[in-house]
Symmetry: C2
Subunit: 189 residues, 2 copies
């Protein structure tokens, strides 16, 4: 399987990096793996357009061509990122803003969106620092926007979401348990 790991965390001394390593070290040898480490890549997340650089031409933009090709190549996407302020870090939000362009990732038929990224599945692996019940009943997003309003709209499904909630309250054993869960997921892919 062709797997693209999209990773968004600044430093290696972190639980997100441990998730990233656990995952990438445990894939079976017959898979093809590409890693997009947005911070390492110094990805510019600012979507720009104006009178001469039209928004409708984003799908043809040279600067982002290799990211579109990477998405076309992949059969399975794995996003790893922390929930900051209820959603994606800006560097990942900008990757969506810039790379998942109209014409490339989706189009509209009247008001109905039609996804162009068919025959691909995805996992979303997130961490966050909010008490679990609070997220369930009072908070919006927390990875759901990426799952439902981005990936599914573009035809990517099923999308599974694995979350390590309330990380700042978790002890070493609980942290290790989730890494073990990720290890098994990677091995069984």
């Amino acid at each position: 399987m062709k797997i693209l790991v999209i990773y968004a965390y600044p430093n290696t001394d972190s639980y997100n990096y441990a998730i990233f390593q656990t995952l990438t070290q445990n894939f079976q040898a017959h898979h093809d793996i590409q890693v997009l480490d947005l911070y390492q890549e110094k990805f510019n997340p600012v979507l720009y357009f104006d009178q001469t650089q039209k928004r409708r031409d984003l799908q043809f933009q040279q600067e982002t061509a290799r990211y579109r090709n990477q998405l076309l190549w992949a059969e399975h996407l794995i996003f790893i990122f922390p929930i900051w302020w209820g959603g994606m870090p800006a560097i990942l939000k900008g990757y969506i803003d810039r790379v998942f362009s109209k014409g490339f990732a989706y189009d509209y038929k009247g008001v109905i969106p039609v996804g162009h990224l068919q025959n691909k599945t995805a996992w979303i692996i997130t961490t966050h620092d909010t008490p679990t019940l609070y997220v369930r009943f009072f908070q919006q997003d927390y990875g759901k926007v990426l799952k439902r309003q981005v990936l599914k709209m573009c035809g990517i499904r099923p999308v599974k979401h694995y979350s390590m909630p309330f990380l700042r309250n978790k002890n070493a054993q609980q942290r290790q348990k989730f890494l073990h869960f990720i290890q098994e997921k990677a091995q069984n892919l």
Copy 2:
């Protein structure tokens, strides 16, 4: 009143720019106004931290000091931005990620967040391209995360949200009507 307008749209040939202009041209003369145009500013939205630049020291970071001072100065914040992929453009998400730092904008007392940006109010003015009913029943965020999970958590309230929904389907008259509404809001502030 000290008003800070935080604006996030790349080009001037746009409805968001028309909203921005309508607003800023219609404030009464006795107000103090500051504008933060994130695109003009070339704001870097990528939150970075590591072993030496600790996340807990963000609140003291020199590079973002003037944005913190601007927030402390303001009595009323007005955010103007388009909903892209259900949420804020990356440049605005990164402004939140980098400037609304722990210790400056909020702290935790146990699991309870305590907002430090007291005695401030806000408006959020957004546009989006999704059919209205669809947003109401099936979609998450669309400005609610900024309102409830960012601003209110930091003590900023009340926050009012004015939205121009399903913009791509609106005719000139409907567009003008919303601008007129914004004009009146600005004049009566």
